[in-house]
Structure formats: structure tokens, C-alpha cells
């Protein structure tokens, strides 16, 4: 069966950008399976209006918006909240384990953010979008993005700090961000 021009362009886009978009989904969902599901849902929704996205030349922004919208909608629908404990079952001093530990702490801190707050944090600090672009993606005002970004950073800092305070008493309490930097330097 002959494929239409729209399908060809769509498949080209999926091949080229699916890895980056999957990473975005992973940061939003915290789970590889959910991330794949979110990406597939968003892409399938976008395919219906792909001509419009092509005509505007904003394919990636279009898919990104669909991902964020699907993610926020799922967050609203979700009945059972995902509960992640801040305490790891085991802690170790090995370098490799530290790196894993750092990622896990950040992952858990992100999981505690509200869907829109989390989306703003990821868009601003991972995707590197400006406040205007983030507002456009989320469909809200720039002021709202600023507010959500501030709230997200505050919560993350608090969560990372609380992880620090929840650490064993024999470990020196220090700035978690500094600890992250040290872990990366190692």
C-alpha cells in the first residue's frame, strides 16, 4: 500500500526524534514503560493533525505539547498515587553506587512534584526552553511558568536537603547539590 506524504514525513520525524522525546517522557513519568506509553499516545494523537504541525513547521513543539498535555491529563486521572520512599534499602560508599544513589535521590524528588510543576522543571532545566516557550508548550502564562518553576526548585531543594538530613548521623550534613557535583567530579 502506498504511503502518503504525511505518513512518510511523520515516520521520518519519529525515527529522528523519538530518542530525545523518550528521554523527556522518562523524566516526566519516572518509568521506562510509562514513558514509552506516553510517547506512543502523544505521537498517535499528533498523527491526526500532522498536516497542521507540518504547515507550521513546529513538529517537535507540537509533539512536546502533546506529551505534556497527556502527562498532565494522566496525572489528573491517576487514582493510585505512586509512592516512592526517600530511604534506600541499602547505602554504600562505592563510587558507582554513589552515582546511582544520586540519580535515585533526584528521581524520587522529581516524583514528588505535581505533574505541571514537574513539566515546568523538565522543560526549563532539561530541555532548556525559555519561559515563553515553556508557557507556550503548557498553554499557560509566563507568570504561571515562573511560579511553577520557583515552586518546583524550592521543593526539589527541600527534598534533596531532607534526604541529607535523613542521612545517617555519622555522615556530615552538607549541601546536596554540592554532593551531586562531587559525585559527578568523581
Amino acid at each position: 500500500m502506498r504511503r502518503s506524504e504525511r505518513e512518510i514525513r511523520f515516520e521520518e520525524f519519529v525515527v529522528a526524534r523519538s530518542a530525545a522525546l523518550l528521554r523527556l517522557c522518562y523524566l516526566l513519568t519516572n518509568d521506562r514503560g510509562l514513558a514509552e506509553d506516553l510517547l506512543q499516545t502523544a505521537l498517535a494523537n499528533c498523527f491526526r493533525h500532522w498536516d497542521r504541525a507540518l504547515s507550521q513547521g513546529r513538529e517537535e513543539a507540537y509533539v512536546r505539547t502533546a506529551i505534556i498535555n497527556s502527562h498532565v491529563s494522566r496525572g489528573r486521572r491517576r487514582r493510585v498515587q505512586e509512592i516512592l520512599t526517600l530511604h534506600l534499602p541499602e547505602t554504600g560508599g562505592e563510587e558507582a553506587t554513589d552515582a546511582v544513589n544520586d540519580r535515585d535521590v533526584l528521581r524520587r524528588a522529581l516524583a514528588n512534584l505535581a505533574p505541571r510543576t514537574r513539566a515546568v522543571v523538565v522543560l526549563r532545566h532539561y530541555m532548556g526552553l525559555t519561559e515563553q516557550e515553556a508557557a507556550q508548550t503548557l498553554g499557560c502564562s509566563v507568570g504561571n511558568v515562573k511560579r511553577l518553576a520557583n515552586r518546583g526548585l524550592k521543593q526539589l531543594r527541600l527534598a534533596l536537603g531532607s534526604q541529607e538530613t535523613a542521612a545517617p548521623a555519622d555522615c556530615p550534613v552538607q549541601d546536596r547539590s554540592r554532593q551531586l557535583a562531587q559525585g559527578r567530579a568523581r
Partner: protein
Amino acid sequence: MKAESERFAEELRYGLVELAAGSGPPPADLQARVRARVVASRRRRTGVLAGCAAVCVGAALTFGVTRGGGTGSGQQAQPAAQAPPAPAVTGAPAAPAPAGPPSASPAGELPDSLAQLWNLAAGTTHTDVRVLHRDTLDGRSILLVQGRQPDGQTRVALLSAALNQGNRPTGAGTYVLLDRAARGGPSVPVAVTFLAKPTGTRTIVVLPTGCTGQLRLTQQPGGERIDWKTDFTGELVLNAPVLSSGQAVAVSCEAASGASTSVLRFTGSARTGEGSMVSLLTGD
């Protein structure tokens, strides 16, 4: 303070990049999965649309039944069930089919037995037989039908059919009230007039297919004012009959292809029953 905040944001960015890197590559069959989602979504939408359409048709039929019983001569409402398919008449010449049924919901296909009765009464066979309008009068079902003769001429007829226990028209006791040639073919409106003394009079103008625009009554019979309205089925309903040979009604139809005007004329005969009268108007 600001430097600290910037440093935290920078560390956060690195942390997010590291975290995202753990997601791994996309699945190899992502394209196929997305395609399956698209197909499933399309199927679901189609199902929803079909469901909505079924609900709308059901509601329209129910409303039509209620309304038909109320505006007629106080008789039983018509059944909402669809009629069985029209008969396949053999030996008919291959001619282009007339336009489809009008947008009126009472329209449909004529039951096999009634089509054969019409063929017997007319002494010929009719192809592409369709019911343009159904109504109830004096406890009988009045069917405005359209068909094509072997010579290509379009005919319209009014059948009076008895109703069975299920309120469906039956062949037993059915006869042809009026049978006329539709000179304008199937693409012009056809009208049927009901004069039922207890409930007043009305004229139903059945529109041709594609006449989706607003209808206007551009000429009033006898110079008298006639109130009219567009029925829920898309038919034009006049609250007065057109019964004398000197009277005609011009109906303009604003369709997508442009406006057209048809003059509907009373063809000079009407059938009277018990306290009622039925006439047929065909267009030029």
C-alpha cells in the same frame, strides 16, 4: 544567593541529563506501536461516531413518531422500524438511478409487497422505488413513493396502506390513491397535501437530495398568505392545502451547488376519505 540558585539550577540540569540517559534507546518497533495506536484510535472514534449517529437516528425516529401522531388526525403513531429492502425488479433497463431519498427521516424503501401492488395497479414495473414520505391519516398509512418506469419516466404515487398490529403498513387493503408523472424528475420537490377536518390542513413538501439550504416560499397560492415552517426532517410544511388547479407554489432551494426554484402544481385531482382529503403536487 543568586549565585547559589544558579549553581543549584546548573546541578539540577546535569542531574536531569544523567537521569534521562538512563531511559535507554527507544524500542525498535516504536513505529509499529504508534501505527497500531493510530488504527485503534481511529476505530474507536468511528465506533463513537456510529454510536452517536445511531442515538441521533433513534431520537429523530422517536420524535418523528410522536410528532406524526400529534399532527395527523389523532391516529396512532407510525412505527419506527425500518421497512425491508425494495424488490429487485428483473428486466429493468440500466438507467441512471434517481437522486437518493430526501433528508426526511420517514423516507426509506418500500416493502416488497407494496411495491408489487403499485406495479400491478400501474400495469408496469418500477425500479429504484423509494418512499419519500410517510404519514398517518384516518388510521391508515399514507406513503408518498417515487419510482422509475421502464421508459425512464419518473413517477410519484400516493399509496394508502392498512396498518398491521405492529403499526406497519401491510399489503392487505393497500391501494393506490394517486399516481402522477414527475415531469421534473427526481431532482425537484414533490408535495402532498393533507386536509383532515378535525386537525386542519397542511402541505408537506419533500425536498430533493442536496437541498440543504433554507427553503423559501416565493409564491403563495391564490394570493393568500400561507404560514410555513421547515420540519425537523428537512421537509417544508405549509399549514394550508393547495387544491385548485389554478394554484401553485414556488419553492426555492438554496443548495451548495446554487439556488434553484421549482414550481409545484396541483394536478387536478384529489382523493377524499372520511373527513379527510389528500392531494398530490408535482414539480416542473
